[in-house]
């Protein structure tokens, strides 16, 4: 493990580099896949950056301004903490912060993200954001369970909740192969906590941008930055748990991790543009009645595999 003095700048540097990549991916996807006449996708493109800086800051009437600022701060802080858990190399140093129960902490990051999104929708004292926040909590809670079962499935062969151990356990076989249902289910969680595509119940076009409908200037910038940061953290975590993280021949570990995480991020961006958002109640039933049993099945497969 590194000292906090190394861990923090390292995490932030990786996070910023990743956010630039997310911005490029989003801009590419928008150009190539989905240039639609109404666009809720005000993400971290360079044009987007230019559009928000140097704009006047407006608040709504009687907002909860402290919460409005705190929401992106919490979202971003969670993304940074999540990313700090990820082992960057197989050899020395490993994760910036090597926590013994790494995936439990990641579970907490997922759960607190729901809080950050709700806080964001609540804070402006406006109807459309509030509705987005309200809808999101139901869906965000449900999909989180699915992801936790899948993550536990990844902990079984490692016999540990530590992420470095989970990476180590994938030397012979990636968890992607060991539990084939794991990554697809985990990607759905990624769509939810980064507010994208089919699980974007918070910032959706049917609410004129939902929780970010009232955001402008620095608050819009902060929220969109945090949202991109969460995608980086998620992609790194998915690459670690299912794709062997820094493991790989010839190239150094961090490069492998970056390549794998970049791939996961690209897949997530494409899925976000492709998939349609179901009715909220339909999605909730789908999660509990289809996805959750699938995650049990995934756990059983992982369990049997671990005993082999």
């Amino acid at each position: 493990m590194m000292g906090p003095l190394t861990a923090l700048p390292l995490t932030l540097c990786v996070l910023f580099a990743g956010m630039i990549l997310v911005g490029v991916l989003d801009a590419l996807a928008w150009r190539l896949l989905g240039r639609v006449p109404i666009d809720d996708d005000d993400r971290l493109t360079l044009g987007g950056l230019r559009a928000v800086i140097r704009r006047q800051s407006i608040s709504t009437e009687r907002p909860d301004l402290a919460a409005w600022r705190l929401a992106p701060a919490l979202y971003f802080g969670l993304a940074a903490a999540g990313l700090a858990l990820v082992p960057v190399a197989v050899a020395v140093g490993r994760a910036p912060v090597d926590v013994e129960a790494g995936i439990v902490v990641w579970g907490a990051v997922e759960a607190l993200t729901v809080i950050a999104v709700f806080l964001h929708g609540w804070s402006s004292n406006a109807l459309l954001p509030l509705m987005g926040a309200y809808r999101f909590v139901a869906i965000g809670l449900s999909i989180m369970l699915v992801s936790m079962f899948v993550l536990i499935g990844a902990a079984l062969p490692a016999g540990s909740l530590r992420l470095t151990a989970i990476v180590e356990s994938q030397r012979e076989l990636w968890n992607l192969v060991r539990q084939p249902l794991g990554l697809p289910l985990f990607l759905l969680l990624g769509l939810a906590i980064t507010l994208r595509g089919p699980l974007d119940y918070a910032d959706a076009p049917d609410l004129a941008g939902g929780t970010s409908a009232e955001d402008n200037a620095q608050l819009r910038l902060a929220w969109q930055l945090a949202r991109a940061a969460m995608l980086v953290a998620f992609a790194a975590m998915a690459a670690t748990v299912f794709l062997g993280g820094p493991l790989g021949p010839v190239l150094p570990g961090p490069v492998w991790l970056a390549l794998k995480a970049g791939l996961v991020a690209a897949v997530l961006v494409v899925l976000g543009h492709l998939l349609a958002r179901p009715d909220a109640s339909r999605m909730m039933t789908f999660i509990w009645v289809v996805l959750l049993p699938l995650s049990f099945l995934d756990l059983a497969i992982a369990g049997l595999e671990a005993l082999r």
Binding site: G34, L275, P278
Partner: protein
């Protein structure tokens, strides 16, 4: 005020909020072909307000509010004819292409060469401060205080389980991006569930869609061209629906196909079908969502009527359609899913008809013809005038907001306008 002539250097992205007036939806949606223009769903994210089309005077107060909600520096462009309430708006003729003007305006704002458009409404609190103390609890308990002139939501009966909870009364529109342009709804909401709906203002006229069809009543028009226009209409409705559901890629395919049909290019709907299938749009819609009651079914027309099991189509009786063996498509369910399927199927059918009717001499349909949203002119059976008006409250009551938006988007804006009983 003049816009500087110089084309700004480099690539500039313009974020605009569109206040869409009469007959202008197609114009605005066409702007999406320009990668430098992004239509954003809220004025908070926009620096340019694009007023498109003629704006009826009754929606001017709403426009003033939307205008003032944009952060400085901001500018206004009026693309179309007629008067509008923003004095320093840059006027642009309907025939002009606004992209250049929009980029130039944005450039002027960025450089500070142009002053920001000032507020139109007086800088007075719409509801003055009445609370006691800086945090405005009012000192009279949760409901007694008036912390900020606007009152708190009062309690009302809950729809399902007989609780008395806050029933939030709110008006949305006429420039709400998730509703058809012009539609203003007075809602009573429980969280995100609709308790009551009242139509404050029906959608604006969108006669541009029907213009070629209406013209064919008086003078000869190419039937192939009309069928292409029908396909364009259906594909655009489909694209709009997908976009509201967050499926940007299929939406973009639908709009791209519509554009290719407009310019007379070859359109392959197979790729759109595959994208729609991949997107999972259809299974995500609850079966039976947006089904009209038997009493209400009489206000349906065109594709929506055929999707509800009534194969009424004037084309079955008209030359040249009878000559190429036209048979109407119909399906039973009459819900949102069926209307989506119907659009796609009828778009494919119209493109096929267009190919078969190509080269025939133009026809005048003096007896009336089948428009994209129902019969036009003087159809033999049943006049449009005696249709009952749609009871939107009965249709949307109890639905979650996202579902309600989907139900509204499953009708074309013009069809919805006529169903709501608006004249003209």
């Amino acid at each position: 005020m003049a816009v500087s002539e110089a084309i700004p250097r480099g690539h500039r992205q313009v974020r605009y909020f569109a206040a869409i007036g009469e007959d202008a939806l197609a114009w605005v949606e066409g702007l999406a072909r320009d990668a430098g223009l992004r239509r954003v769903p809220t004025p908070r994210a926009a620096s340019l307000l694009l007023i498109a089309g003629r704006l009826p005077e009754r929606s001017w107060p709403a426009l003033r509010r939307v205008h003032d909600q944009m952060p400085h520096p901001r500018a206004v462009l009026h693309w179309g004819e007629g008067a509008q309430p923003v004095p320093d708006a840059v006027a642009l003729a309907p025939a002009a292409t606004p992209a250049v003007a929009m980029r130039a305006l944005q450039g002027d704002l960025d450089r500070g060469a142009r002053g920001s458009s000032p507020d139109l409404l007086p800088n007075e609190p719409p509801a003055p401060w009445l609370g006691k103390g800086p945090h405005g609890q009012g000192g009279e308990g949760m409901m007694g205080g008036t912390p900020y002139g606007r009152p708190m939501t009062m309690r009302g009966d809950e729809l399902r389980d007989g609780l008395r909870l806050d029933a939030h009364a709110v008006t949305l529109g006429p420039f709400a991006p998730m509703l058809p342009p012009g539609l203003a709804l007075d809602l009573r909401l429980q969280g995100d569930v609709i308790q009551r709906v009242e139509v404050m203002q029906p959608p604006f006229r969108d006669a541009m869609v029907e213009a070629p069809f209406a013209a064919a009543i008086d003078r000869p028009m190419s039937a192939a061209g009309l069928e292409r226009a029908r396909a364009v209409h259906h594909l655009r409705c489909l694209g709009r629906f997908c976009a509201l559901r967050g499926a940007a890629a299929p939406a973009a395919r639908a709009y791209a196909s519509a554009y290719r049909a407009t310019i007379g290019g070859r359109v392959d709907l197979g790729s759109l079908r595959r994208w729609l299938w991949l997107s999972g749009l259809r299974p995500g819609i609850a079966p039976g969502l947006g089904t009209l009651s038997a009493a209400q079914r009489g206000c349906l027309s065109g594709p929506a009527l055929r999707a509800a099991g009534v194969p009424d189509d004037l084309r079955t009786r008209l030359e040249p359609y009878t000559g190429v063996g036209f048979a109407p498509i119909a399906r039973q369910a009459g819900d949102v899913r069926a209307r989506i399927d119907q659009w796609l199927a009828e778009a494919a059918q119209a493109l096929d008809l267009a190919a078969r009717l190509e080269g025939l001499p133009p026809t005048t349909f003096a007896e009336g013809l089948e428009g994209p949203a129902g019969a036009l002119g003087a159809p033999a059976g049943g006049d449009r005038g005696d249709r009952p008006a749609l009871d939107l409250d009965a249709l949307l009551r109890g639905l979650e907001w996202g579902q309600a938006v989907s139900v509204l988007a499953s009708f074309s804006p013009d069809a919805l306008r006529r169903m709501l009983g608006a004249a003209g």
